[in-house]
Amino acid sequence: MQKKVAITGMGIISSIGLSVEENFQSLISKKSGISNLENIQTRHASEIKVGEIKITNQELQQLLNLPEENTFTRTGLLGAYAAKKSVESAGITNINELRTGLISSTSVAGMDFTEKHYKKYEEHPEYQKYIQSHDAGDSSNKIAHYLGLKGFVTTISTACSSAANAIMLGASMIENGYLDRVIVGGTDALSKFTINGFKTLMILSDTYNTPFDNDRKGLNLGEAAAYLVLESDEVIKKSNKKVLAYVTGYGNANDAFHQTASSENGEGAYLAMKQAFEKASILPDQIDYINVHGTATPNNDLSEGRAMSRIFNKVPKFSSTKAFTGHTLAAAAAIEAVYSVLALQNNTIFPNLNFKTPMEELNIVPETEVVQTEINHVLSNSFGFGGNCSTLIFSKS
């Protein structure tokens, strides 16, 4: 008998808030976190907008009470902050008391520091301590160490769907009895590397991103970290802990179409959603809200919109929250999982900001205002380069 997967804690840091509550307040008061870039030196600063967290690395280190001699990069700092909050919110005091794991995800990893010191390491031995911090796994090990966690630790990197897969793996491990509880999520800092990378693909907007709008010009990059604590229902029975929501469905497929672009009909997205419905044993029309991937690139929104039109008889209410946060890459699915749980808890759909004109090709329009409505099941999509498509379904406790 598979165990049920309960969400008992959440922690988040994004450009719209340093806590779950702050993020919620921003979402319902339509307060976007998109701004001009401040913390990174790049010649493209004036051509782009970003979802930047206006806290320096030094301030983060202080918030975390780290010793002076630490080797955390920004990705690790954001991750440790959000992971710690999630553990506190789940009321965990002894982290190793049960079989507890950490499944993190990142695409940037320590690149934000590597790019600063690259080619200067030889002249500056004082920077060399950061060389090992470049590895993706290093950030997860640091987060685990910061939490005092000893156990299953791994890291997933499937581009912009990474955190969805971390949640999926965590849920599978709980269901099948490999862990009693697991901290799952993702973290990515802004970096010059990704700014330039997305620039070469010509999918960065020079203004505020407009998901699912006919005249959308591309995405805004963002930075964030979020983690959820998942626990098996067996463990919960013993602790009488409050359950925030359940992870009930998930699906993972590959579009196998192109290195970066999504297929015209959104085959990968369609397959991921289909699997998620099967896993959750619900029908598509039981979904009350979709937190779409909705990056606001011409390609993503069309492909995702087509996939939704294919799988739903009538597409449910949906919105992209990327106009609030920017596209936070590996962390995107984690912060959107937090927003999905908030939608369930508050029976609230968050607005898709900046939307004006429906897409020519499709007959669907996102919600542009805060909507109060009964919500029992939320579907969240996340897609990445390399055709990685993931869908999660969260259900009311």
């Binding site: 950490l102 030889e122 156990g151 997933i156 330039n196 993972n252 397959l271 380069f385 990685n388």
Partner: protein
């Protein structure tokens, strides 16, 4: 409960393309060891290969051979572990950012630099729309992929899964490793049995496996259990015994134990400590053949699977002088710098 069999293996390593553990003499290890690249022409169309990183080509080649070896055509998952992904392209893109002051940058290197590019290109190559994951957790990146596949085969409705580990060497990364002593300094001896100096002998490669819950004539071994963790909760001996007991085994039931020893005197201390647990068990090692890199343990699994299938432990991979009488139960232990630990338990089939 369904089983997890290793039915096919494909590999690119620093050894020659036709290297055979039971027949060939392995080329000696240097401080920097580049993989012997096979010809990719028959496998990858020039229009595709022109933009492919070395890691992608090695991955596709090894994946294809693993599937061919197992006569598997439609894996229901592609799961890859890699420490750094296509790090050479990450370097190229960073170099270009610095040299051209963020101008005239082209997308190809950036696209390849995303960690999931190998798994993605395999999916594209095989036109495989199934489950697709990439793990990036240092020295147990590959074991993460193996664990996921193991769980998928046991509990999900999947019969066939393709997994692998791949990593490549890049020039500046190597020189950074020299600066921090992660690799051996020029002139230092590479000694796996009695290392005197710190640092590893860096290498690269790709090793892929076709896993299935169906046993075939080509099955090498069965994966009994996989465990990965960042740190020992209890003392090392207790945790090893707990892992074995969970599988109804004790240390004396083991026929061979493989260590991921990597010629680093500092890291040798861990293996010396656990050696006391296994001092009466035949021991094996493999990084003197593969060289050391984050996913070298995938090569280790290939060696272990092959010795189980052949029921022979060649002298060249014996770490102590104890000969096995049979090879039924094999335990593999790996780590890097006292973290990214993994246990993999295999049995003959």
């Amino acid at each position: 409960m369904k089983n997890c069999y290793i039915n096919g293996i494909g590999n690119v390593s620093i050894q020659s393309v036709d290297f055979d553990l039971f027949k060939s003499e392995a080329a000696g290890i240097q401080i920097l060891n580049k993989a012997q690249q096979p010809s990719y022409k028959d496998l990858i169309a020039p229009a595709m290969s022109r933009r492919m990183a070395k890691g992608v080509k090695m991955g596709i080649y090894a994946a294809n051979n693993a599937l061919f070896n197992a006569k598997m055509v439609d894996p229901q998952a592609v799961i890859v572990g890699t420490g750094l992904g296509c790090i050479e392209d990450s370097e190229k893109f960073l170099d270009a950012i610095i040299e051209n002051d963020e101008q005239f940058l082209t997308p190809t290197a950036f696209i390849q630099s995303t960690h999931n590019t190998v798994a993605a290109q395999i999916a594209l190559h095989l036109q495989c729309k199934a489950y697709n994951f990439t793990y990036v957790n240092g020295a147990n990146s590959f074991e993460s992929a193996l664990f996921d596949a193991f769980m998928q085969l046991k509990h999900f409705n999947k019969e066939n899964i393709l997994i692998g580990g791949v990593d490549e060497i890049a020039p500046y990364t190597f020189s950074m490793y020299e600066m921090i002593g992660k690799v051996k300094q020029s002139g230092e001896e590479v000694n796996f049995k009695n290392p005197q100096t710190k640092g590893i002998a860096l290498a690269e490669g790709a090793t892929f496996f076709a896993l299935s819950n169906n046993k075939t004539n080509n099955s090498y071994a069965e994966v009994l259990d996989v465990m990965l963790f960042n740190a020992f909760k209890d003392d090392e001996t207790t945790e090893i015994n707990t892992f074995l007991n969970k599988n109804n085994l004790s240390v004396t039931d083991l026929d061979v134990v493989f260590f991921g020893v990597n010629a680093d005197a500092h890291q040798q201390e861990f293996y010396n400590r656990i050696n006391t647990v296994f001092n009466e068990i035949p021991q094996g090692y493999y990084q003197h053949i593969s060289g050391s890199y984050d996913t070298a343990s995938a090569f280790g699994l290939k060696v272990a699977a092959e010795i189980i299938q052949k029921q022979a432990l060649p002298k060249s991979v014996q770490y102590n002088n104890i000969e096995p009488t049979k090879i039924e139960k094999v335990l593999m232990i790996n780590q890097f710098n006292n973290t990214d630990f993994s246990f993999v338990l295999l049995q003959s089939c």
